[in-house]
């Protein structure tokens, strides 16, 4: 059914090499959370990252998203080594090639839905031009929210907010979409709809998706399942439904 997944030779969006992450370095309670991970994510992978609580999933996601820095090892994003980058370059790379979707949708209440969607572009380029605004509108339409473009997030339901967050994550046409329990606090039907959105964008835009989830139904529906236990990758499988040759 499944076998240890081997790193693909080319077309990686992301590559981890002996990546370690410790907290409280130099203190008596120093703990290593990630124990030397090697992992590759291809250009149009649709992968689930699963594992019990405390296994280091969120830490790994933050490190991959360049929000947090590894203690040692190297992280290549689109072929670029990131460990020696300064904050400004890491921020620029994060802004241009990674989209984030969090469990708690995390929109900025001071801005309308479409402004939230445009935020990554505004932060990188300043005042959005017509093309950018059209793009944002199209993304909102794609998640079924074109009517709510100028609604503040506080007046949207949880599922609607999460759709806006997905549109925001996609506005920069990122190579990698990271999602931390994106359906964690949604009901099953909404969760399924959100999942389908990820599926669709993976197919349509060819962006790699790495999805942290607790939900076995979701992970099975992904093309690939990476299982992290106590800071180690214990299995990395292609799911049978799509065949091993994918």
């Amino acid at each position: 059914m499944s076998e240890r997944f081997m790193a693909r030779p080319a077309n990686e969006v992301l590559q981890l090499a002996s990546l370690r992450k410790s907290y409280n370095i130099g203190l008596p309670n120093e703990t290593e959370v990630l124990h030397g991970l090697d992992l590759s994510i291809g250009r149009s992978d649709f992968a689930a990252l699963i594992g019990p609580s405390g296994s280091g999933k969120s830490t790994l996601l933050n490190v991959i998203g360049l929000l947090d820095q590894p203690t040692s090892g190297e992280l290549y994003l689109l072929g670029q080594a990131t460990s020696t980058m300064d904050d400004a370059r890491r921020t620029a790379l994060r802004g241009s090639s990674i989209g984030f979707v969090f469990q708690f949708h995390h929109l900025i209440p001071a801005f309308s839905a479409i402004e939230n969607v445009l935020m990554p572009l505004m932060l990188a380029q300043g005042k959005p031009d017509k093309t950018a605004t059209e793009h944002a509108r199209a993304l909102l339409a794609a998640v079924g929210l074109e009517k709510y473009a100028h609604t503040p997030p506080t007046q949207l339901s949880g599922g609607q907010q999460q759709r806006v967050a997905i549109a925001r994550a996609l506005i920069t046409k990122p190579a990698l979409l990271l999602a931390d329990e994106p359906t964690g606090n949604l009901d099953t039907r909404t969760a399924a709809e959100i999942f389908e959105l990820f599926r669709r964008f993976n197919r349509e835009f060819g962006c790699a998706v790495l999805l942290v989830t607790h939900d076995p139904r979701l992970s099975v529906a992904c093309d690939r399942t990476i299982n992290l236990v106590d800071g180690l990758i214990v299995s990395d499988t292609l799911n049978a439904t799509l065949g091993l040759s994918a």
Binding site: T91, S96, A110, G126
Partner: protein, 407 residues
């Protein structure tokens, strides 16, 4: 400027949206800043108006600089070598005497561009007698045209005309009251040197200074010279300068130039000057402490705002905001507090000044100079920026991973 605005567009947008969203906080701190700025602007304008008024009143009746002949000193013969001398010396009585070469000195001073007006005056003591009444007075011999530029006598004339010469004199109102004189009456002047004369009262003035109104008798230069037994001489040269606060410096320069004794109005009114300085100092203290409390108000509001917006800062960082952008978002908020608050404060202080000028005691007029407004705007904005520095740095240094989990 526009390119700077364009580059800071997103920071501006975020800052203004944050301010709009935290409306209650924004309004309260704006009121705080406005009250502070209003107090600063109003107090500064009030004190400036008051001091200008006091100085104008003081200088309305005196020259900015007076040049006097140097004091006479005892001449001590040089000693033969190898001798020791014990000397007991009495100071010399300073007799009334003329300034040497005053025509040349006056002509030279007329050429100096730093001086507005030069007026040679002869002045000395005398008695004014009418019947059995006797008053001690100061005779002041003037060249009316020149003296008018130092003290605008014409504006102080109560009765009669501004006319000296050919036996005419101007006397003060209090002297006229004491001696029962009116315009056209005769007055006998005695200088104790067998030089007595009778003059005609051509005009009565009121300078508003008791000392001057009881004692000054203005005469023609020539008549005063002959009465005081100083034919062709003058005892004082009165000067005015453009900027009254440079009087002391210019007095020193002129003293070096002419080797005469130069007294500036600042030296002769040392008490007034120290009072004004003390007043300015206390005003400055008020300004500094009000500005400090405004700065701390802005800093504390922004500190609270950074804590409240921790999660949003994390989201912004995750969606591509750099530390610098976060820093600028909060710096801009501080600057906006300062700028907007001071605009409101200045409007309030204008209203206060208007009320004072219209309904107040009307002792003096308070002007609000544009420079003061500009300074207030600039200083308040800078204060806002500086006050925002600490909270902004904290916002910028937040760890995005922790910030995003913050509830």
């Amino acid at each position: 400027m526009t390119s700077l605005l364009r580059r800071l567009w997103v920071e501006w947008t975020i800052a203004l949206n944050f301010l709009r969203e935290g409306r209650a906080q924004t309004v309260m701190i704006l009121i705080g800043v406005a009250v502070g700025v209003a107090v600063i602007v109003f107090v500064t304008a009030l004190i400036q108006g008051l001091q200008t008024n006091i100085i104008e009143r003081t200088l309305g009746t005196q020259a900015h600089i007076r040049l006097l002949p140097p004091d006479e000193l005892n001449q001590v013969l040089p000693l033969a070598a190898g001798t020791v001398q014990l000397l007991q010396e009495d100071k010399r009585a300073q007799r009334l005497r003329s300034i040497n070469n005053w025509q040349q000195v006056t002509a030279a001073l007329d050429q100096l561009p730093i001086l507005d007006a030069v007026s040679p005056v002869v002045s000395g003591p005398a008695f004014a007698r009418r019947g059995a009444a006797l008053e001690s007075v100061a005779l002041v011999g003037i060249d009316v045209e020149r003296y008018q530029q130092i003290i605008p006598l014409r504006t102080y004339i109560l009765e009669g005309q501004l006319r000296v010469g050919a036996g005419d004199a101007l006397i003060g109102k209090l002297l006229a009251d004491n001696l029962g004189l009116r315009v056209g009456d005769k007055l006998r002047l005695e200088t104790g040197q067998q030089n007595n004369t009778v003059v005609n009262v051509a005009g009565i003035f009121e300078l508003g200074v008791r000392e001057l109104d009881t004692r000054h008798v203005y005469l023609d230069l020539k008549q005063a010279q002959s009465l005081l037994n100083l034919p062709g001489g003058i005892t004082v040269i009165d000067l005015t300068v453009e900027d009254i606060f440079t009087a002391e410096t210019i007095a020193l320069q002129i003293a070096r130039l002419t080797s005469l004794k130069a007294e500036s109005w600042m030296a002769t009114n040392a008490q007034l000057m120290s009072a004004l300085t003390a007043q300015s100092m206390s005003t400055n203290m008020i300004i500094v402490f009000v500005a400090l409390s405004v700065a701390f108000g802005i800093a504390s509001v922004l500190s609270v705002s950074v804590v409240q917006r921790t999660r949003e800062i994390g989201i912004l960082r995750a969606t591509g905001a750099t530390r610098q952008q976060i820093l600028r978002v909060f710096l801009i908020q501080g600057a906006v507090f300062g700028l907007l608050g001071s605009v409101i404060g200045i409007a309030v202080s204008y209203a206060l000044v208007w009320v004072f000028n219209t309904f107040g005691p009307r002792l003096f007029y308070i002007p609000v100079p544009t420079s003061l407004i500009m300074m207030a705007l600039l200083l308040a904005t800078l204060t806002g920026l500086v006050a925002a520095a600490v909270p902004s740095r904290r916002a910028a240094s937040l760890n995005p991973v922790e910030a995003i989990r913050y509830v």
